[in-house]
C-alpha cells in the first residue's frame, strides 16, 4: 500500500521565520510528487517534482525532491501570516495520487 508521511504535523512560527516541511514516501511506480497549500477551501497547486536534485522555486517558496532517499522538502523563507495553511504533500503512483496528512502551519505576527 502506498504511503506518504509528512512532518511535523503542526508548526507555529513568527513572521519572518524560515520553515522546512518534510514529506517522505513509500510507493510503487513513482511518477511525481506534488505540494499543495490548503486554506479554508480548495487545495491550491504549488509544485510538481519529478526529478531528483532540481529545485523548484516560486517567490519565497521552494521545494526539492530526493528520489534515492524518498523524500521532499518544502521551504518557506521570510514567512508571512498569509502563509498560515495546511500544506499537503501528494505522490503520484501509476495514475493515482496519495496524500499525506498535511502540516498545519501557523504564522503569528
Amino acid at each position: 500500500e502506498d504511503k506518504v508521511v509528512q512532518s511535523p504535523l503542526s508548526l507555529v512560527v513568527h513572521e519572518g521565520d524560515t520553515v522546512t516541511l518534510n514529506c517522505s514516501y513509500e510507493v510503487t511506480n513513482f511518477r511525481s510528487l506534488l505540494w499543495y497549500k490548503q486554506e479554508k477551501k480548495a487545495p491550491t497547486f504549488l509544485f510538481m517534482l519529478t526529478s531528483s536534485g532540481i529545485e523548484k522555486k516560486s517567490g519565497r517558496l521552494s521545494s526539492i525532491l530526493d528520489k534515492k532517499e524518498l523524500f521532499s522538502i518544502l521551504n518557506i523563507t521570510a514567512t508571512q501570516t498569509g502563509d498560515s495553511a495546511i500544506y499537503l504533500c501528494a505522490v503520484e503512483s501509476g495514475s493515482r495520487l496519495t496524500f499525506g496528512e498535511g502540516t498545519q502551519l501557523t504564522v503569528n505576527p
Partner: protein
C-alpha cells in the same frame, strides 16, 4: 480561467437520507476526480474519470455511493443512504490529462445528523 466549481458548499442532512454533489471541471480538462477529505487528513480518492469513463473506482463504496459524468464534462456524486461516517468534505478536482497537476474545487462540506 475559471476554476473547478462545486455545489453546494455545505449540506446538512439526517442519516439515511440521499444527497448529491455537483462538479463542473475546468474547461478542457478531460480527467475528473472525486475525493473525500476527513478532518485532519489528506484527501482520499473515490473515483477518477477519463472523459465519461470511470477508469478507477476501486475505492468507491459502491453499496451506497454512485457517480456519473455524462457527456464527459460535469459530474455528480451521490450517496444513498447517507451514514454518520460519511460526514466529510467532498472535493472535486480536474486535470488536463492523467499525470498533470490536479486543480481542486472548494469542496462540499457534508454533515450528517
Amino acid at each position: 480561467e475559471a476554476g473547478v466549481v462545486q455545489s453546494p458548499r455545505y449540506k446538512i442532512i439526517e442519516k439515511k437520507q440521499p444527497v448529491a454533489f455537483w462538479c463542473n471541471p475546468i474547461s478542457g480538462h478531460n480527467t475528473l476526480y472525486w475525493y473525500r477529505q476527513n478532518l485532519g487528513q489528506g484527501p482520499e480518492l473515490l473515483i477518477r474519470y477519463e472523459n465519461e469513463e470511470a477508469v478507477d473506482d476501486s475505492q468507491l463504496p459502491k453499496d451506497r455511493f454512485s457517480a456519473e459524468r455524462l457527456k464527459g464534462v460535469d459530474s455528480t456524486l451521490k450517496i444513498q443512504p447517507a451514514e454518520l461516517g460519511d460526514s466529510a468534505v467532498y472535493l472535486c478536482a480536474s486535470s488536463l490529462s492523467v499525470n498533470q497537476p490536479q486543480h481542486f474545487g472548494d469542496g462540499t462540506r457534508l454533515s450528517i445528523l
